[in-house]
Each structure stands twice: as structure tokens, then as C-alpha cells.
């Protein structure tokens, strides 16, 4: 098995990840990788759409995007010239609980991207003309999404699954109703209150020396203070659906329908997260998209695109199966998917299924950790969820001790095949009704 050949020394772990916490609470993790010429600077801040009021939906996202539009010392053009002149890139993007950033550059240019990140986070200017330009771009993007079957099916799915007072009910990007309502004062205020060093994570991976990388991050960010930065409010309680509900979003002129079916799954820190992850792999990932791929794509030939996912983060995200199918085949595909969900909660996966997915999750580490980006994402995850620097060293045991019964119990805990949320977006007023 692959991991046995990866010596423990070659996996990122406490012996080769340098971790330090700056005085203002920022955690910095560095992993040296001199096999490359580049460096990745990635991480996240403890802010996101969970802090925005529903009528200002999109505020966290537009605030994050506005940061790169100009600072007290750099214009929009100066920021982008500094990056693009050297072939570097830096993006800041809000999620629900965290606002992430991702930068990359040739290794010699780490200080440039770290300097810009520090500057735009601590002293953004929010120039009015830039914000209006950005708003127009967001609105055009939302209008394109309004015509996107996958986006619309996913929106309808989330809106049914989570109650209106829950942040997962809404898209982080906001809507055509709310984005025009957000003022520059809202953006300034959101930044002042909710952006700060507390809970910030910075990972640096690439052809740099750890001590030099830490000095660069320290220089860029250690003076940042926001003593009033609030803790995130608790997520509202959310109950799993009690009966199956279905919503159809008609989009004339489309040739394919997108279908999402599922329910509420685990949070990342739930004890049965790994069991659910493996059960999900059997359902819709392992091999050619697992059992649903085998059935819907290979056996019935109904879809090009089918698979399942668990979106587990700070809170209980959805556990869902998605497919892009011919509008005439929506009901047949749905029946086949529901039959596989029924099977997953009725009988334990076979010993071979379990062994397969265990082997998959362990075996794929070398490929996941091949690039700076893959290692940086892993480090940020480890810190975000408090998994411990020895997480990768323990990973094999975490996966191998799971049993078929663990997977069945996890599937049964979350999936009730007669209480699912179904969303379809596509052409025609309504798909033909079946069983």
C-alpha cells in the first residue's frame, strides 16, 4: 500500500511543519518544498456571511472582493500591476464561516504578495467608483447564474433544506435583490467590525526557508489589531426534512436538466464524519462515481455527469447526489438514485467496498500532497478544524479502524430515503411525473 512506502519523514507532520502564533493571534504554518520554483500563500480569516443580515445578503462577499480594489497606499492599478508584473496572483473570497485567500508567486516574490495581503486587509480604501464597478460585475455574474441549471438547482436545494434564518439557506454571493442594496458604508462597517487577526490562519508552502517566510508574514501582518472582533454567532438549529419535498425551476431554452437530491449531513468535527465520508464514497465517488455512477451512467446511460458529495464544514452541510440529465429522464434518474440511498441505509457495504474506499482515501495522499497548493490546503484544513500537526501521520489509523457497521450507522443517521429534498432546474414547465 502506498502510504507504507511513504516514510513518515516524507509526510508533512510535526517534524517538518513550522507552526508559530503571532502576538495578535495569527497562526502561521510553513512547509518547505524546494522541489518547486514557486510559493503558495494561503489561509483564511474568521469572518464570512454568517455575520451578515439576510437583507444584506452578499455583504461579506462584496467586502472581501472590495479589498483588492485599492488601499490607503495603493490604487487598484498599483495592486494589480505589482502582482501581474511578476506573474503572481492573489484572491480573497468570502465563505459562510471563513474568508479565504490564495496567493502564488515565484519563490523570490513571496514578500510582494504577503505585503499586498497585509496592506489590503489592514487599510483598504473602498473607493466608490471601484465598488460600483465591482457591483455591476457581480450583478452580471448573478444574471448569468440565473440561467445556469446547476446553480439554480443547487439554490433551490439549499433553500428547501435550510430554513430562511440559517446562513446556509442563502448564497454567499447574494441575490439580484440584495446586492444593489449594499452601501459603501455597509462594506466599511463590515470590514471594521468583522475583519481582524483573531483566528486568522496563514500557510506558506514552497521554495522558501521557514524562518524567512515567518519573518515575511510577521512583517506584513503582526501589527494588525481589532480588539472588538466578535466571535461568530451560533448556527440556528436545523431539523432534517420529515417528508420528501420537490421543487422545479423552469429554465426555457435549456437542453439538459440538473438534479440535486439529498439531506443534511455531518459537520467536519462530528464523530461520524469519516464514516459518512467513506459511505458517501461508496455511494457516489469510488470508481466511476460509485454506486450511483454505476447505475445511472453506466447501466442506464442516463447521464454524463453524476456523483455524490458531503460538504462538511463548521456546521452540518448537505449530503447530496447531483446529476445532469436529459429532461425526459429526470424521474428515472431520481428513482435510481433514491434506490441507491435506500440500499445504503438498508444493508452494510460489503467488506470489499469498505476495503476499497479505505484504500482509496489512504492511497491518494501522495498525489494530494504533490503540489504546493495541495500541501497548503491540507495545512489550512488541519489548523481550521484543530486536527493536529500529526493529522497525516494518524490518518491511516483514522480510516482503517472504521467498520462496515460504522458506515451503515452514519448513513442511517443522516439519510432518510422517504424524507429527502429534491431540486430540479431545466427546460419545460414540469418534468413528467412518475411513481
Amino acid at each position: 500500500m502506498a502510504i507504507s512506502d511513504l516514510t513518515r519523514q516524507s509526510l508533512p507532520g510535526p517534524h517538518n511543519i513550522v507552526r508559530t502564533v503571532l502576538d495578535n493571534g495569527i497562526t502561521v504554518l510553513v512547509y518547505e518544498n524546494h522541489a518547486t520554483q514557486s510559493v503558495v500563500l494561503a489561509g483564511s480569516l474568521a469572518t464570512g456571511s454568517i455575520f451578515e443580515p439576510p437583507e444584506k445578503n452578499g455583504l461579506a462577499s462584496i467586502t472581501a472582493a472590495s479589498l483588492m480594489r485599492g488601499s490607503e497606499t495603493r490604487t487598484f492599478d498599483a495592486i494589480n500591476s505589482a502582482l501581474e508584473d511578476i506573474g503572481a496572483d492573489l484572491d480573497i473570497d468570502a465563505g459562510v464561516h471563513r474568508t479565504g485567500f490564495f496567493g502564488k508567486a515565484l519563490a523570490e516574490d513571496l514578500a510582494t504578495i504577503a505585503g499586498i495581503l497585509g496592506d489590503v486587509l489592514q487599510q483598504p480604501a473602498f473607493p466608490a467608483a471601484q465598488i460600483e464597478r465591482l457591483r455591476g460585475e457581480i450583478i452580471t455574474g448573478l444574471k448569468i447564474r440565473q440561467q445556469d441549471t446547476r446553480y439554480r438547482a443547487n439554490r433551490a436545494f439549499h433553500e428547501q433544506l435550510y430554513p430562511p434564518n440559517h446562513p446556509y439557506h442563502r448564497s454567499v454571493r447574494g441575490t439580484l435583490d440584495t446586492v444593489p442594496q449594499i452601501t459603501i458604508d455597509d462594506i466599511r462597517d463590515f470590514h471594521r467590525r468583522h475583519f481582524g487577526p483573531s483566528g486568522m490562519i496563514v500557510a506558506v508552502v514552497g521554495a522558501v526557508r521557514a524562518d524567512e517566510a515567518i519573518d515575511i508574514v510577521r512583517h506584513a501582518l503582526e501589527r494588525w489589531r481589532n480588539p472588538d472582533q466578535p466571535e461568530a454567532p451560533p448556527l440556528p438549529h436545523v431539523a432534517a426534512p420529515t417528508q420528501t419535498q420537490r421543487r422545479f425551476v423552469p429554465l426555457p431554452g435549456k437542453t439538459q436538466a440538473d438534479l440535486v437530491v439529498g439531506t443534511i449531513g455531518p459537520a467536519r468535527k462530528d464523530a461520524d464524519y469519516y464514516a459518512a465520508m467513506l459511505a458517501n464514497s461508496v455511494l457516489g465517488q469510488f470508481g466511476m462515481m460509485g454506486r450511483v455512477g454505476e447505475k445511472v451512467r453506466e447501466e442506464l446511460g442516463l447521464a454524463y455527469d453524476v456523483g455524490s458529495s458531503i460538504n462538511a464544514g463548521h456546521g452540518p452541510g448537505p449530503w447530496s447526489v447531483s446529476a445532469g440529465v436529459n429532461p425526459a429522464n429526470v424521474d428515472r434518474a431520481l428513482e435510481a438514485i433514491v434506490a441507491e440511498l435506500e440500499r445504503l441505509v438498508r444493508e452494510p457495504v460489503s467488506a470489499e467496498d469498505l476495503e476499497n474506499v479505505q484504500s482509496y482515501y489512504i492511497g491518494r495522499l501522495p498525489l494530494q500532497l504533490e503540489s504546493n497548493e495541495g500541501i497548503a490546503n491540507t495545512l489550512v484544513n488541519i489548523e481550521t478544524y484543530g486536527l493536529g500537526l500529526d493529522y497525516l501521520l494518524r490518518y491511516r489509523d483514522t480510516i482503517m479502524r472504521l467498520t462496515r457497521e460504522d458506515l451503515l450507522a452514519a448513513a442511517q443517521r443522516y439519510i432518510k430515503p422517504d424524507a429527502l429534498v429534491v431540486a430540479v432546474a431545466g427546460p419545460e414547465s414540469r418534468p413528467q411525473s412518475a411513481s
Binding site: A2, L106, K143, R246, G301, L302, V325, N356, S429
Partner: protein, 437 residues
């Protein structure tokens, strides 16, 4: 980066083998690329290369359908395939100790794919579904029309996915004939990059592939495109709320020196192309300043594609909500005229070169992308194209870029496409019905 040389070898049956040792991570990527793509498809058989690619995942006697997906996942590898206008390619990237599985898979399916008639029919609906998925995107409709207008004769005129008429009528025998004719060692390029010893690996490759039937490379169906003699324009009208513009210029093949001048020109106009390791922003590019900063458009991009035959340099624009295609095109044309008048600076040229160096570094960190580029460039010119990419780009002068702009960006040499949204899609009507389905 550990930089071992590329070892090139040709087996007696004509198979080209390229090997490059990279010992930075315990992984190997193995590619087998066939020199056949949608470029070589006659009318009536469009999409056949891509469909054959799907059929090679349907199993052989040695590896029945589905077993390989599971075997590869079990060892933590990835495998996939891609069909392009110039080629059809298959790859596995695996933990290094499992490389033999990749070698065996590709040797087996070069000759033993089954093309079971039932599998062909089930895959027909999957591929039609794939095309329908593409048709859901407005820019697919636009790009399909623009490319078709640019190529009246050459096989580049249709999309890789193929025309719906042909997806409905291609038969099992058509597919099998295409496979047997083109999937021969002399029409293939095999590449390994990663953690191996090249002498040992070549022995194993020779053992597995050397016995496959030889023979000359097949004659490929290719019809040269006659020169375009005036601007061509196409309009697509479909439901939606957003307008798009695509402008495509005829440009030379990748082996041509002007290709590199145009690559630099694109970097200046639209921002640099990614090399497979992700791109960077283009907010300081000329078109961004001229169209996005002026609030005419929300998105600009341009791309040069390395190809065997002369293909297209295409620019894509997303029209900002509330603006019109006419005004966006006028502002675009003004920028093109500036370039054609030679208004390009040495600083812009130097910047494009630095950007290329960074993007090349990002794009070649993974063994999968290195192996892809070696196979791809060997297909359209030589693997040395990839090795020499940066030095050929560094050699481009300001005069080269100015000349390329004046020669290739002429209106007579382009196709302009508009996507006009008809707006009749309802915005927010949704229907709920609860209960059983």
C-alpha cells in the same frame, strides 16, 4: 526542480517513447496519446474520436468494465482521457510503485477494447447528455458558431463533441473501424514522467508494447482551409439576460515562430495564458482597462492554442448588464487598431516574458502536466517545443510582436460572433410540490 533530460526512443513497431525522471514526489504519470482528433473527422462522423475515447473505458477481456476504476482508486491514483481537435490521449498518474498497472492498461486497450454493441448504445445517450450539458452554456453556442464560420473546409470546423446529427447515427462499426485504424503504435506517443529509473522502465515498456502489431502510421483525413478573404460575422440568439462576444483570428500552427509572437501579444492584450497550473488575473491587461474599467464588459479573456494546423486566436468578452454588444465591439476595435499601429512598448514585452516564466513554473510542478506537455508538443511539433518554450518566447522582439499584430489582427482575417440574449426566460418563477415522486 530536478531536471533530468528527456530520453526519446522509438520501438521497432513505431511507438514513440519519451521518458523523463523526476524524483521530487513518489508518483509517476503515464500518457499514451494518439495522433487523431476531431480534426480528422469527415462530415457524418463528427464526434467519433471522442466517442471512441469513451468506449476505451468500457473494459477488455483482461480488465472488464469497472474493474480499473476500482483498481486505480484503490491505489490512490487518477486516470482519465481527453479528446482534442488534434489528438486523443489517455493517462494514469499513480503512486510510483504501481506504475506497471498503467503500462499494462494502455498496452491492453490499444488493441483489445471490445466495443460491445450494448455499450455503444448506452454510451450514445451519455454522449448526447454530455453535448446537452455543453448546450446549456451560452458561450458554447457562440464558440461553436464562430469556429464553424472560421473553417469551411478544414476539420477544425466542428466541435470535439460532434454534431447532434452524427451522434444520433454513428454506428458500432464506424467506431470500431476508427479505433482499429488509428490506435496503432506508429500513430501513438507514450510518455512517462516521475519517480522511476528510465532504463528499467524502457525495458518494461519494450516488453509490453514491443509485441503489439506494427505497420505504417495511418493516412489521416485532413483538408486544408483556403484563406479567408473578408470578415465573417455570426449571431446567436437564445434565451438569457447576458450578451457575449467572441472574436477569432486565423493564426499559424504552433511550430511557426509567429505563434510565439502572438502568445506575447495575447499576454499584452488579454493577460497571459495559464500553462495548466492555473492562470493569474488580467486586471492590468489592455482589454481589461479598455472594456472592464470603462464598465462596458465584466470579463475579458484571450487564448492561443498550440495546434498542428493553423487554428484560431480567440478573444471572449462578457457584456456588462445594461450595455450593448455594438458599443463593446467598437471599444474593442479601437484597442486592436492601437496594436495594429504598433503602439506596443518594450516594458510590456518584458513583462509578458516574466509572466510566462511564472506561469510556466506553476504549470509544470506536477508530473501529470509535464507528461501532458511532452506528449502534446511531440504531437504538434516535437517535445523540444515544450523544453524550448521559454527560450523561444524570450527571443521574441518588439518588432516581432508589432508585425504579428499588423498581419494577424486584420478585420479581414477574423470572425466576429455575438450572443444576443432574447430575455424571454422567466426570472424567478418556481414551482413547489411536496410529497412522493
Amino acid at each position: 526542480m530536478t531536471d533530468s533530460p528527456v530520453i526519446k526512443h522509438r520501438l521497432a513497431n513505431g511507438l514513440t517513447v519519451l521518458l523523463k525522471e523526476v524524483h521530487t514526489a513518489p508518483v509517476v504519470s503515464w500518457w499514451v496519446l494518439y495522433r487523431v482528433g476531431s480534426r480528422n473527422e469527415p462530415t457524418g462522423k463528427t464526434g467519433i474520436s471522442h466517442w471512441v475515447e469513451h468506449m476505451l473505458f468500457k473494459g477488455t477481456e483482461q480488465f472488464p468494465a469497472g474493474t480499473l476504476d476500482r483498481m486505480i482508486d484503490r491505489i490512490g491514483g487518477v486516470w482519465n482521457a481527453q479528446t482534442f481537435i488534434d489528438y486523443t490521449a489517455y493517462y494514469e498518474t499513480l503512486p510510483a510503485e504501481h506504475i506497471d498497472l498503467a503500462l499494462r492498461i494502455e498496452a491492453d486497450r490499444m488493441v483489445n477494447a471490445q466495443f460491445d454493441p450494448e455499450d455503444v448504445e448506452s454510451e450514445r445517450t451519455v454522449i448526447i447528455s454530455e453535448r446537452q450539458g455543453l448546450e446549456n452554456s451560452p458561450t458554447f453556442w457562440l464558440s461553436e458558431e464562430v469556429t464553424a464560420a472560421a473553417f469551411r473546409v478544414h476539420g477544425y470546423h466542428h466541435e470535439v463533441i460532434g454534431d447532434m446529427a452524427d451522434l444520433l447515427t454513428i454506428t458500432r462499426d464506424d467506431l470500431y473501424e476508427h479505433y482499429r485504424r488509428h490506435y496503432v503504435p506508429s500513430n501513438a506517443i507514450a510518455v512517462a514522467v516521475g519517480d522511476f529509473d528510465h532504463e528499467e522502465l524502457l525495458q518494461r515498456i519494450t516488453a509490453l508494447y514491443g509485441s503489439l502489431p506494427g505497420g505504417p502510421a495511418p493516412d489521416l483525413f485532413v483538408r486544408p482551409e483556403p484563406p479567408q478573404t473578408g470578415e465573417r460575422r455570426v449571431v446567436v440568439e437564445r434565451p438569457g439576460h447576458t450578451a457575449f462576444i467572441e472574436v477569432a483570428y486565423h493564426v499559424p500552427e504552433a511550430a511557426h515562430d509567429d505563434w510565439f509572437a502572438l502568445e506575447v501579444l495575447n499576454s499584452i492584450l488579454c493577460g497571459p495564458d495559464g500553462f495548466g497550473g492555473g492562470g493569474i488575473d488580467n486586471k492590468t491587461s489592455r482589454l481589461y482597462k479598455a472594456l472592464v474599467e470603462t464598465e462596458l464588459a465584466t470579463y475579458v479573456s484571450g487564448s492561443m492554442t498550440p495546434t498542428i494546423d493553423p487554428f484560431l486566436y480567440s478573444v471572449n468578452l462578457t457584456v456588462r448588464d445594461g450595455r450593448h454588444v455594438e458599443e463593446v465591439e467598437a471599444a474593442y476595435n479601437a484597442e486592436i487598431e492601437r496594436l495594429r499601429r504598433g503602439e506596443i512598448t518594450e516594458a510590456e514585452l518584458q513583462r509578458a516574458k516574466k509572466q510566462a516564466r511564472a506561469l510556466f513554473a506553476y504549470g509544470t510542478e506536477r508530473v501529470t502536466m509535464q507528461a501532458f506537455w511532452l506528449a502534446f508538443s511531440e504531437c504538434f511539433e516535437s517535445y523540444e517545443w515544450f523544453e524550448n518554450y521559454l527560450s523561444r518566447l524570450q527571443a521574441i522582439t518588439l518588432e516581432d510582436v508589432q508585425r504579428a499584430a499588423s498581419v494577424y489582427l486584420r478585420p479581414q482575417n477574423r470572425v466576429v460572433g455575438w450572443f444576443i440574449p432574447t430575455g424571454d426566460a422567466p426570472e424567478n418563477f418556481e414551482e413547489d410540490f411536496d410529497g412522493d415522486f
